[in-house]
Protein backbone atom coordinates (compact mmCIF):
# COMPACT_ATOMS: atom_id res chain seq x y z
CA UNK A 1 0.00 0.00 0.00
CA UNK A 2 2.69 2.45 1.08
CA UNK A 3 4.94 2.10 -1.93
CA UNK A 4 3.98 4.05 -5.01
CA UNK A 5 1.03 5.94 -3.50
CA UNK A 6 0.43 9.65 -3.70
CA UNK A 7 3.42 11.52 -5.05
CA UNK A 8 3.19 15.08 -3.79
CA UNK A 9 5.90 17.68 -3.74
CA UNK A 10 6.21 20.54 -1.35
CA UNK A 11 6.31 23.62 -3.56
CA UNK A 12 2.79 23.31 -5.03
CA UNK A 13 1.50 22.40 -1.56
CA UNK A 14 2.92 25.67 -0.22
CA UNK A 15 1.25 27.60 -3.01
CA UNK A 16 -2.04 25.89 -2.22
CA UNK A 17 -1.68 26.81 1.43
CA UNK A 18 -1.35 30.52 0.54
CA UNK A 19 -4.50 30.40 -1.58
CA UNK A 20 -6.14 28.42 1.20
CA UNK A 21 -5.38 31.14 3.69
CA UNK A 22 -6.86 33.79 1.40
CA UNK A 23 -10.01 31.72 0.89
CA UNK A 24 -10.22 31.19 4.65
CA UNK A 25 -10.04 34.92 5.27
CA UNK A 26 -12.83 35.50 2.75
CA UNK A 27 -14.99 32.76 4.22
CA UNK A 28 -14.77 34.20 7.71
CA UNK A 29 -15.43 37.74 6.50
CA UNK A 30 -18.59 36.41 4.85
CA UNK A 31 -19.70 34.79 8.12
CA UNK A 32 -19.06 38.03 10.04
CA UNK A 33 -21.11 39.91 7.44
CA UNK A 34 -24.11 37.54 7.54
CA UNK A 35 -24.10 37.60 11.35
CA UNK A 36 -23.93 41.38 11.51
CA UNK A 37 -26.69 41.73 8.92
CA UNK A 38 -29.01 39.22 10.62
CA UNK A 39 -28.54 40.77 14.03
CA UNK A 40 -29.34 44.17 12.58
CA UNK A 41 -32.55 43.12 10.81
CA UNK A 42 -33.96 40.75 13.49
CA UNK A 43 -36.49 42.34 15.80
CA UNK A 44 -36.84 40.81 19.30
CA UNK A 45 -39.00 37.70 19.50
CA UNK A 46 -42.23 37.98 21.50
CA UNK A 47 -41.26 35.20 23.91
CA UNK A 48 -37.49 35.23 23.88
CA UNK A 49 -36.52 38.77 23.04
CA UNK A 50 -33.00 38.94 21.71
CA UNK A 51 -32.27 35.37 22.74
CA UNK A 52 -33.84 34.27 19.47
CA UNK A 53 -30.62 35.39 17.74
CA UNK A 54 -28.78 32.38 19.17
CA UNK A 55 -30.72 30.49 16.49
CA UNK A 56 -28.33 31.95 13.90
CA UNK A 57 -25.38 30.07 15.32
CA UNK A 58 -27.00 26.99 16.90
CA UNK A 59 -29.13 25.88 13.94
CA UNK A 60 -26.46 26.41 11.21
CA UNK A 61 -24.00 24.42 13.34
CA UNK A 62 -26.54 21.58 13.64
CA UNK A 63 -27.45 21.55 9.94
CA UNK A 64 -23.84 21.65 8.82
CA UNK A 65 -22.74 18.88 11.13
CA UNK A 66 -25.26 16.79 9.19
CA UNK A 67 -23.70 17.85 5.88
CA UNK A 68 -20.26 16.88 7.23
CA UNK A 69 -21.53 13.45 8.33
CA UNK A 70 -23.20 12.96 4.96
CA UNK A 71 -19.77 13.40 3.37
CA UNK A 72 -18.34 10.92 5.91
CA UNK A 73 -21.00 8.37 4.92
CA UNK A 74 -20.44 8.77 1.17
CA UNK A 75 -16.65 8.68 1.46
CA UNK A 76 -16.71 5.69 3.85
CA UNK A 77 -18.99 3.74 1.52
CA UNK A 78 -16.74 4.57 -1.41
CA UNK A 79 -13.72 3.45 0.56
CA UNK A 80 -15.35 0.11 1.37
CA UNK A 81 -16.33 -0.22 -2.30
CA UNK A 82 -13.08 0.77 -3.96
CA UNK A 83 -10.48 0.68 -1.20
CA UNK A 84 -8.85 3.95 -2.18
CA UNK A 85 -6.84 5.78 0.44
CA UNK A 86 -8.19 9.16 -0.74
CA UNK A 87 -11.74 8.29 0.29
CA UNK A 88 -10.57 7.28 3.74
CA UNK A 89 -8.79 10.60 4.14
CA UNK A 90 -11.83 12.56 2.96
CA UNK A 91 -14.05 10.70 5.46
CA UNK A 92 -11.58 11.45 8.24
CA UNK A 93 -11.41 15.15 7.34
CA UNK A 94 -15.21 15.42 7.27
CA UNK A 95 -15.56 13.48 10.53
CA UNK A 96 -13.23 15.87 12.31
CA UNK A 97 -15.21 18.91 11.17
CA UNK A 98 -18.46 17.08 11.92
CA UNK A 99 -17.40 16.35 15.50
CA UNK A 100 -16.36 19.97 15.90
CA UNK A 101 -19.77 21.19 14.71
CA UNK A 102 -21.61 18.67 16.91
CA UNK A 103 -19.70 19.85 19.95
CA UNK A 104 -20.49 23.42 19.01
CA UNK A 105 -24.18 22.58 18.48
CA UNK A 106 -24.39 20.99 21.94
CA UNK A 107 -22.59 23.86 23.65
CA UNK A 108 -24.69 26.51 21.91
CA UNK A 109 -27.84 24.54 22.69
CA UNK A 110 -26.91 24.59 26.38
CA UNK A 111 -26.27 28.33 26.28
CA UNK A 112 -29.66 28.79 24.61
CA UNK A 113 -31.45 26.31 26.88
CA UNK A 114 -30.48 27.88 30.18
CA UNK A 115 -32.28 31.22 29.70
CA UNK A 116 -35.22 29.82 27.68
CA UNK A 117 -35.99 26.37 29.09
CA UNK A 118 -34.48 27.18 32.47
CA UNK A 119 -31.96 24.33 32.34
CA UNK A 120 -28.58 23.70 30.71
CA UNK A 121 -29.21 20.07 29.89
CA UNK A 122 -31.76 17.26 30.12
CA UNK A 123 -31.93 13.72 28.76
CA UNK A 124 -34.69 14.01 26.20
CA UNK A 125 -34.45 12.07 22.95
CA UNK A 126 -33.06 14.94 20.86
CA UNK A 127 -30.34 15.96 23.29
CA UNK A 128 -29.40 12.38 24.11
CA UNK A 129 -29.18 11.25 20.49
CA UNK A 130 -27.04 14.29 19.63
CA UNK A 131 -24.71 13.51 22.54
CA UNK A 132 -24.45 9.91 21.29
CA UNK A 133 -23.59 11.21 17.81
CA UNK A 134 -20.86 13.38 19.32
CA UNK A 135 -19.33 10.51 21.28
CA UNK A 136 -19.34 8.16 18.29
CA UNK A 137 -17.27 10.62 16.28
CA UNK A 138 -14.97 11.48 19.17
CA UNK A 139 -14.42 7.72 19.33
CA UNK A 140 -13.79 7.70 15.58
CA UNK A 141 -11.06 10.31 15.94
CA UNK A 142 -9.47 8.52 18.91
CA UNK A 143 -9.50 5.29 16.90
CA UNK A 144 -7.67 6.98 14.03
CA UNK A 145 -5.10 8.48 16.36
CA UNK A 146 -4.17 5.11 17.83
CA UNK A 147 -4.23 2.69 14.91
CA UNK A 148 -1.01 2.96 12.90
CA UNK A 149 -1.57 0.51 10.08
CA UNK A 150 -3.23 2.62 7.33
CA UNK A 151 -5.32 -0.21 5.88
CA UNK A 152 -6.70 -1.43 9.17
CA UNK A 153 -7.29 2.14 10.30
CA UNK A 154 -9.21 2.90 7.13
CA UNK A 155 -11.42 -0.21 7.41
CA UNK A 156 -12.30 0.33 11.04
CA UNK A 157 -12.87 4.02 10.46
CA UNK A 158 -15.19 3.36 7.56
CA UNK A 159 -17.24 1.01 9.73
CA UNK A 160 -17.47 3.43 12.66
CA UNK A 161 -18.06 6.36 10.30
CA UNK A 162 -21.03 4.61 8.73
CA UNK A 163 -22.42 3.54 12.10
CA UNK A 164 -22.23 7.14 13.27
CA UNK A 165 -23.86 8.47 10.12
CA UNK A 166 -26.81 6.09 10.65
CA UNK A 167 -27.48 8.05 13.81
CA UNK A 168 -27.90 11.33 11.91
CA UNK A 169 -31.48 10.71 10.66
CA UNK A 170 -32.37 9.53 14.17
CA UNK A 171 -31.14 12.82 15.59
CA UNK A 172 -33.05 14.76 12.96
CA UNK A 173 -36.32 12.86 13.41
CA UNK A 174 -36.06 12.44 17.21
CA UNK A 175 -38.27 15.46 17.89
CA UNK A 176 -41.03 13.94 15.76
CA UNK A 177 -40.64 10.28 16.70
CA UNK A 178 -40.53 10.88 20.44
CA UNK A 179 -42.02 13.38 22.83
CA UNK A 180 -39.17 15.71 23.70
CA UNK A 181 -38.48 18.96 25.49
CA UNK A 182 -36.74 20.21 22.36
CA UNK A 183 -39.24 21.73 19.95
CA UNK A 184 -39.86 20.31 16.48
CA UNK A 185 -38.20 21.86 13.44
CA UNK A 186 -39.37 25.32 12.50
CA UNK A 187 -40.48 26.04 8.97
CA UNK A 188 -40.72 29.33 7.07
CA UNK A 189 -44.38 29.56 8.10
CA UNK A 190 -43.55 29.29 11.80
CA UNK A 191 -40.81 31.91 11.57
CA UNK A 192 -40.91 35.64 11.02
CA UNK A 193 -39.70 36.30 7.42
CA UNK A 194 -36.70 38.22 8.75
CA UNK A 195 -35.75 35.25 10.88
CA UNK A 196 -36.06 32.88 7.92
CA UNK A 197 -33.83 35.03 5.74
CA UNK A 198 -31.30 35.48 8.54
CA UNK A 199 -31.21 31.79 9.33
CA UNK A 200 -30.72 30.86 5.68
CA UNK A 201 -27.84 33.23 4.97
CA UNK A 202 -26.09 32.19 8.18
CA UNK A 203 -26.56 28.53 7.36
CA UNK A 204 -25.00 29.11 3.94
CA UNK A 205 -22.07 31.05 5.43
CA UNK A 206 -21.41 28.29 7.97
CA UNK A 207 -21.72 25.70 5.20
CA UNK A 208 -18.99 27.48 3.25
CA UNK A 209 -16.82 27.55 6.41
CA UNK A 210 -17.41 23.83 6.94
CA UNK A 211 -16.64 22.89 3.33
CA UNK A 212 -13.50 25.02 3.50
CA UNK A 213 -12.43 23.22 6.70
CA UNK A 214 -13.00 19.79 5.17
CA UNK A 215 -11.15 20.62 1.97
CA UNK A 216 -8.20 22.11 3.81
CA UNK A 217 -7.95 19.17 6.24
CA UNK A 218 -8.28 16.71 3.37
CA UNK A 219 -5.36 18.31 1.54
CA UNK A 220 -3.25 18.24 4.71
CA UNK A 221 -4.06 14.58 5.25
CA UNK A 222 -2.92 13.79 1.72
CA UNK A 223 0.41 15.52 2.42
CA UNK A 224 0.76 13.53 5.65
CA UNK A 225 -0.03 10.29 3.86
CA UNK A 226 2.53 11.12 1.14
CA UNK A 227 5.19 11.83 3.76
CA UNK A 228 4.35 8.55 5.54
CA UNK A 229 4.59 6.65 2.26
CA UNK A 230 8.01 8.15 1.57
CA UNK A 231 9.25 7.22 5.02
CA UNK A 232 8.06 3.69 4.42
CA UNK A 233 10.01 3.59 1.17
CA UNK A 234 13.10 4.80 2.98
CA UNK A 235 12.65 2.11 5.61
CA UNK A 236 12.17 -0.58 2.98
CA UNK A 237 15.12 0.73 1.04
CA UNK A 238 17.36 0.53 4.11
CA UNK A 239 16.34 -3.01 4.78
CA UNK A 240 16.75 -3.99 1.15
CA UNK A 241 20.28 -2.58 1.12
CA UNK A 242 19.71 -0.18 -1.81
CA UNK A 243 21.66 2.54 -0.02
CA UNK A 244 24.70 0.38 0.57
Amino acid sequence: MGVGTVELSVAPARARRSTGMLIGLGVFLLLAATQAYSISISTPDRDMGHLQKIMYVHVPAAWNMMIAYFIVAIASLRYLWKGREKDDLLAAAAAETGALMTGLTLALGMIWGKPTWGIWWTWDARLTSTAVLFFIYVGYLILRAFVDDPDRRAQWSAAVGLLGALNVPIVYMSVRWWRTLHQVQSSPSTLDPNYTLSLRINAIAVMIVVLFFIRHRYQTMQLEAAADAMHERIALGDRGGINA
Binding site: P115, T116, W117, A125, V132, F135, W178, R179, V184
Partner: protein, 156 residues
Protein backbone atom coordinates in the same frame (compact mmCIF):
# COMPACT_ATOMS: atom_id res chain seq x y z
CA UNK B 1 12.20 1.72 22.61
CA UNK B 2 9.66 1.63 19.83
CA UNK B 3 8.04 -1.40 21.45
CA UNK B 4 7.57 0.61 24.62
CA UNK B 5 5.89 3.43 22.69
CA UNK B 6 3.71 0.88 20.90
CA UNK B 7 2.68 -0.68 24.19
CA UNK B 8 1.79 2.66 25.71
CA UNK B 9 -0.18 3.63 22.62
CA UNK B 10 -2.15 0.41 22.72
CA UNK B 11 -2.87 0.78 26.44
CA UNK B 12 -4.13 4.34 25.84
CA UNK B 13 -6.28 3.05 23.02
CA UNK B 14 -7.85 0.44 25.25
CA UNK B 15 -8.56 3.02 27.96
CA UNK B 16 -10.01 5.42 25.39
CA UNK B 17 -12.25 2.76 23.87
CA UNK B 18 -13.49 1.72 27.32
CA UNK B 19 -14.29 5.34 28.19
CA UNK B 20 -16.12 5.93 24.93
CA UNK B 21 -18.09 2.67 25.11
CA UNK B 22 -18.87 3.34 28.76
CA UNK B 23 -20.17 6.82 27.97
CA UNK B 24 -22.12 5.42 25.04
CA UNK B 25 -23.73 2.67 27.10
CA UNK B 26 -24.54 5.05 29.93
CA UNK B 27 -26.21 7.44 27.53
CA UNK B 28 -28.25 4.73 25.87
CA UNK B 29 -29.38 2.75 28.87
CA UNK B 30 -29.14 5.30 31.64
CA UNK B 31 -30.56 8.20 29.72
CA UNK B 32 -32.61 7.47 26.65
CA UNK B 33 -34.33 4.27 27.67
CA UNK B 34 -36.55 5.72 30.35
CA UNK B 35 -37.08 9.00 28.60
CA UNK B 36 -38.35 8.11 25.16
CA UNK B 37 -41.52 9.77 26.38
CA UNK B 38 -39.98 12.74 28.08
CA UNK B 39 -43.10 13.71 30.01
CA UNK B 40 -46.68 12.66 30.72
CA UNK B 41 -49.66 14.89 30.07
CA UNK B 42 -52.13 15.55 32.91
CA UNK B 43 -54.56 13.09 31.35
CA UNK B 44 -51.93 10.35 31.15
CA UNK B 45 -50.78 11.05 34.69
CA UNK B 46 -54.29 10.84 36.11
CA UNK B 47 -55.03 7.69 34.12
CA UNK B 48 -52.08 5.93 35.75
CA UNK B 49 -53.62 6.45 39.18
CA UNK B 50 -51.71 4.91 42.08
CA UNK B 51 -48.93 3.76 39.73
CA UNK B 52 -47.51 7.27 39.73
CA UNK B 53 -48.37 8.23 43.33
CA UNK B 54 -45.19 9.62 44.92
CA UNK B 55 -42.92 8.39 42.12
CA UNK B 56 -40.41 10.65 40.30
CA UNK B 57 -42.06 11.60 37.03
CA UNK B 58 -42.26 14.45 34.52
CA UNK B 59 -45.51 16.22 33.78
CA UNK B 60 -45.99 18.49 30.77
CA UNK B 61 -48.75 20.78 29.62
CA UNK B 62 -49.80 24.38 29.39
CA UNK B 63 -50.13 26.87 32.23
CA UNK B 64 -53.87 27.44 32.67
CA UNK B 65 -54.57 31.15 32.20
CA UNK B 66 -55.21 32.98 35.46
CA UNK B 67 -54.18 30.04 37.63
CA UNK B 68 -50.72 31.29 38.62
CA UNK B 69 -50.30 32.23 42.29
CA UNK B 70 -46.80 33.45 43.03
CA UNK B 71 -45.75 34.38 46.56
CA UNK B 72 -42.53 36.33 46.10
CA UNK B 73 -41.73 36.42 49.83
CA UNK B 74 -41.96 32.67 50.37
CA UNK B 75 -40.80 31.86 46.82
CA UNK B 76 -43.91 29.70 46.60
CA UNK B 77 -45.52 28.99 43.23
CA UNK B 78 -48.87 27.38 42.54
CA UNK B 79 -50.53 26.96 39.17
CA UNK B 80 -52.71 24.60 37.14
CA UNK B 81 -51.28 22.60 34.26
CA UNK B 82 -53.69 21.61 31.49
CA UNK B 83 -53.68 19.56 28.34
CA UNK B 84 -57.16 20.57 27.25
CA UNK B 85 -58.69 17.40 28.68
CA UNK B 86 -57.56 17.23 32.30
CA UNK B 87 -55.85 19.57 34.69
CA UNK B 88 -53.38 19.01 37.51
CA UNK B 89 -52.53 21.45 40.26
CA UNK B 90 -48.78 22.05 40.56
CA UNK B 91 -46.88 23.33 43.55
CA UNK B 92 -43.28 24.46 43.26
CA UNK B 93 -40.63 26.24 45.31
CA UNK B 94 -38.33 28.89 43.90
CA UNK B 95 -38.58 31.37 41.07
CA UNK B 96 -39.77 29.93 37.73
CA UNK B 97 -37.82 30.44 34.48
CA UNK B 98 -38.27 33.92 33.08
CA UNK B 99 -40.48 32.78 30.21
CA UNK B 100 -43.02 31.21 32.58
CA UNK B 101 -46.47 32.71 32.03
CA UNK B 102 -50.08 31.89 31.15
CA UNK B 103 -50.52 29.48 28.23
CA UNK B 104 -46.82 28.66 28.11
CA UNK B 105 -45.71 25.07 27.63
CA UNK B 106 -44.14 23.76 30.83
CA UNK B 107 -42.56 20.47 31.88
CA UNK B 108 -42.23 19.82 35.63
CA UNK B 109 -40.07 17.23 37.32
CA UNK B 110 -41.36 15.99 40.64
CA UNK B 111 -43.85 13.69 42.35
CA UNK B 112 -47.63 13.44 42.31
CA UNK B 113 -48.84 13.33 45.92
CA UNK B 114 -52.42 13.53 47.20
CA UNK B 115 -53.71 15.11 44.02
CA UNK B 116 -51.04 17.80 43.85
CA UNK B 117 -47.92 17.65 41.71
CA UNK B 118 -44.96 18.65 43.87
CA UNK B 119 -42.46 20.01 41.36
CA UNK B 120 -38.75 20.22 42.09
CA UNK B 121 -37.73 21.49 38.68
CA UNK B 122 -39.63 23.61 36.16
CA UNK B 123 -38.71 23.70 32.48
CA UNK B 124 -40.20 25.75 29.69
CA UNK B 125 -41.18 23.84 26.57
CA UNK B 126 -40.84 26.51 23.96
CA UNK B 127 -42.82 25.86 20.83
CA UNK B 128 -45.44 27.90 19.04
CA UNK B 129 -46.87 24.60 17.83
CA UNK B 130 -47.47 23.37 21.33
CA UNK B 131 -51.24 23.50 21.58
CA UNK B 132 -53.81 22.14 23.96
CA UNK B 133 -56.03 19.57 22.29
CA UNK B 134 -59.69 20.26 21.75
CA UNK B 135 -62.03 18.68 24.34
CA UNK B 136 -62.42 14.95 23.85
CA UNK B 137 -59.11 14.42 22.10
CA UNK B 138 -56.61 12.02 23.58
CA UNK B 139 -53.06 13.27 24.01
CA UNK B 140 -51.91 10.93 21.27
CA UNK B 141 -54.36 12.56 18.92
CA UNK B 142 -53.19 15.92 20.09
CA UNK B 143 -49.65 15.10 19.11
CA UNK B 144 -50.75 13.65 15.81
CA UNK B 145 -52.79 16.77 15.29
CA UNK B 146 -49.81 18.89 16.16
CA UNK B 147 -47.69 17.11 13.57
CA UNK B 148 -50.44 17.35 11.00
CA UNK B 149 -50.80 21.08 11.43
CA UNK B 150 -47.04 21.36 11.24
CA UNK B 151 -46.95 19.56 7.94
CA UNK B 152 -49.76 21.74 6.64
CA UNK B 153 -47.83 24.77 7.78
CA UNK B 154 -44.77 23.58 5.97
CA UNK B 155 -46.58 22.96 2.69
CA UNK B 156 -48.65 26.14 2.64
Amino acid sequence: MSGNVEGRKRATLVVAVVIVLGAFGYLLYGGLDKNVVFFLTPQELLAKGTQVEDVPVRLGGMVAPGSVKWDADKLDLRFVLMDGVKTVEVHSKGAPPQMFRDNMGVVCEGRFRNGIFESTNLMIKHSEEYRAPKPGQTPQEMYKEMFKTLKQDASS
